[in-house]
């Protein structure tokens, strides 16, 4: 500071630099607080779930996630059927929605005329904003009857010998829930993947084309791999929504806490049972068990996300070799 008083021009420069640096620090501090608050909220959430589930954790221990009886009267709680339903419906919905979503995103980003692409994208983003209860109602009164009268008989006709398509179909089932979920999450995949594909530099495309690649080869072998990370990001977003979806699932899943091999059988999901039973749960242990289900859902989300990230890392390494 003493040097600044001797040379005026230099002091001005350093003051400006100080100011800038202060601005930087301000921005740093502000963004840090934002990031930390997310971290804090997550920690608080886990802490609260941990605290609220103490009664149930002490009573059942690991049996909570190993047994499959859910009896609020005898106060005997096991989470397996709900975990099963949540994982099966989410993964099956991804299986349906990823190919469709990715295909649509490629068309919108690479093939379609810009005007049509923008219009369709607008409509798709509207779909993402539809409340889930609307999807539930549509699923219940529109989709399920279609599945019942046309789709499922067709599937049973061809693949009926497989255990996963055996048994009576009541309309509501794990399969119906997965289809409704896939309709709900496909806009996320399309919308985010399209943005990511559009962000791929033109140079990449031009380079591929100049080497004699066809339009499709360019898209599939250059643009899509370049955008792979972003596309996976969109799939994670979709998966997160599918894992936590409550209203739409409970309206079409059948709400039956049983583990059954057939996808056409009714099931249940973690989010759905929490929403269904929480308001009228009167015993402390019942409430505690429902809170522990929340904790389990949180753990499932983390595990599935972790596995998916691992998958990207390993496949990414293979491509690099």
């Amino acid at each position: 500071m003493s040097a600044a008083s001797t040379a005026l021009p230099r002091s001005r420069v350093s003051a400006l630099a100080d100011k800038l640096r202060a601005g930087d620090q301000l921005a740093y501090a502000l963004t840090l607080v934002c990031a930390a608050s997310i971290f804090l909220v997550t920690c608080l959430l886990v802490y609260q779930l941990w605290l609220g589930s103490a009664l149930s954790r002490h009573k059942f221990g690991w049996n909570f996630i190993l047994t499959s009886t859910w009896d609020p009267v005898q106060e005997n709680f096991g989470a397996v059927p709900f975990m099963f339903g949540t994982v099966v419906t989410s993964l099956l919905s991804l299986l349906i929605s990823v190919p469709i979503g990715l295909g649509a995103a490629i068309f919108l980003a690479e093939m379609a005329l810009p005007r049509i692409s923008d219009l369709l994208t607008f409509l798709i983003e509207l779909l993402a904003a539809v409340p889930s209860v609307i999807y539930g109602l549509l699923g219940r009164f529109l989709l399920v009857p279609i599945l019942e009268s046309a789709v499922v008989p067709a599937i049973k006709g061809v693949l009926g010998f497989l255990p996963i398509f055996s048994g009576t179909f009541y309309g509501v089932s794990l399969f119906s829930a997965s289809v409704v979920l896939s309709v709900m999450i496909v806009p996320f995949i399309i919308s985010v993947s399209r943005e990511v594909l559009l962000a791929v530099p033109v140079d990449q495309r031009e380079a591929a084309l100049s080497l004699g690649a066809t339009k499709w080869e360019t898209t599939w072998q250059v643009v899509v791999p370049f955008a792979k990370r972003g596309i996976f990001g969109s799939i994670f977003l979709a998966l997160a929504r599918a894992l936590g979806e409550t209203m739409a699932v409970t309206m079409v899943v059948g709400n039956t806490p049983k583990v059954q091999t057939s996808l056409l059988a009714p099931g249940y999901s973690i989010a759905a049972v929490i929403a269904n039973e929480f308001t009228e749960a009167t015993s402390d242990l019942h409430i505690s068990a429902l809170v522990e289900l929340g904790l389990v859902l949180f753990a499932i989300t983390i595990i599935i996300n972790g596995l998916a990230r691992l998958l990207i890392l390993t496949t990414g390494a293979r491509v690099a070799k």
Binding site: T69, W70, D71, P72, V73, Q74, R140, F141, V144, P145, T168, Y170, G171, V172, T250, M251, G254, N255, T256, P257, P266, Y268, A272, A275, N276, E277, F278, T279, E280, A281, T282, S283, H286
Partner: protein, 344 residues
């Protein structure tokens, strides 16, 4: 113009804030969803008669009602199933006084079904209902169902059972009835707002069960009488304890309440009661009021409302399709109100 509006808004807001200072009082309650339309009508009418008193009611569910009144975050609770001994003890431990149950209106559950080719109202014996919901009676032409419906040609199709998936007073009444008429149900399943169903699909809310039944051929479920009446659904008759097949109606539900023996604390289940005209799957719904209320003005407000609810209030029930309380219960409750005392 906008300035004027702003001024008016601010003045109105200030007036609302200032109101309590001029003898305005508000009571808050929370709990059961089933009687909510009735309660909101009552509280509204009562507010018109006593503009200085406002009663706010949140229909958060019976479980929430019991919890909130135990915690003391509301002035009164409401529930579709009476509090258990443990819950009463928890209340006493927490608040240092007892809690009183006041029956307000009556509700009932009815069996609804969808069997292609069957248009008449079916008769159900208690054994048939228990058997179907236990998963032991699996076909519509089972002798247990057929013998009660000699004139109906029942198909030999599989029965699809539909029950509520959300915890509810409606379920409580239904399984309370099944527990009374079937010892197997009592030991295997028991009663509660949610139970471990032996068979069937779960529908969310009355509308979820009704929708599932409507869409699935050969299905049976149960819904609240009011819901069935408002949606013009047909429903079955159930055989009561004196052997008569009775259709649920406001009169037969009130008859069920009149037939049951009323204990002093009003915590009574009236499923499967005696009485020739009684419909057997009915229940009271209750307000939960602490015995001791710190603020004397509040106590007077609550007791005033309870007296009004038992008098003029009961005349408003039938318009909303709730069954009114029998006279004997009303006079017994009138006496019980005096148990509510201010803190001395």
């Amino acid at each position: 113009m906008t300035r004027m509006r702003t001024f008016v808004t601010i003045a109105a807001a200030l007036a609302i804030l200032a109101l309590p200072a001029f003898g305005q009082m508000s009571l808050t309650g929370a709990g059961a969803t089933f009687p909510y339309p009735m309660y909101s009508k009552w509280f509204d009418e009562y507010h018109k008669l006593h503009p200085s008193l406002e009663i706010n009611y949140q229909s958060i569910g019976s479980g929430g009602g019991i919890r909130q009144v135990t915690e003391g975050t509301v002035d009164f609770g409401a529930t579709d199933g009476p509090m258990t001994e443990e819950q009463l003890k928890a209340f006493h431990d927490k608040r240092g006084c007892g809690v009183l149950h006041f029956p307000t209106v009556l509700g009932a559950d009815v069996p609804v079904y969808n069997i292609p080719g069957v248009a008449t109202d079916l008769n159900f014996t208690p054994e048939a209902l228990a058997g179907i919901f236990l998963g032991k009676i699996t076909k519509w032409n089972d002798p247990e169902i057929a013998k009660a419906n000699p004139k109906v040609k029942l198909p030999g199709t599989d029965i699809i059972v539909v029950h509520r998936s959300d915890g509810s007073g409606t379920t409580y009444v239904w399984v309370d009835y099944l527990s009374k008429v079937s010892s197997e149900w009592q030991t295997k399943v028991g009663k509660g707002t949610s139970v471990n169903w032996p068979v069937g699909l779960g529908g969310k809310g009355n509308e979820g069960v009704a929708g599932q039944v409507k869409q699935s051929a050969n299905s049976i479920g149960y819904v609240e009488l009011i819901y069935a009446a408002q949606n013009k659904m047909s429903f079955g008759r159930v055989r009561n304890s004196s052997g008569a097949f009775v259709q649920a109606s406001l009169a037969s539900v009130t008859a069920a309440a009149a037939g049951a023996e009323m204990p002093d604390d009003f915590r009574v289940s009236i499923t499967n009661p005696p009485g020739k005209n009684a419909y057997p799957i009915a229940s009271f719904t209750w307000l939960l009021v602490p015995e001791e209320i710190a603020d004397k003005q509040k106590r007077d407000a609550i007791t005033g409302f309870l007296h009004w609810m038992l008098g003029p209030g009961q005349k408003m029930t039938e318009a909303l399709e709730y069954a009114p309380l029998p006279k004997a219960v009303v006079s017994k409750e009138e006496k019980a109100i005096s148990k509510i005392h201010a803190k001395s």
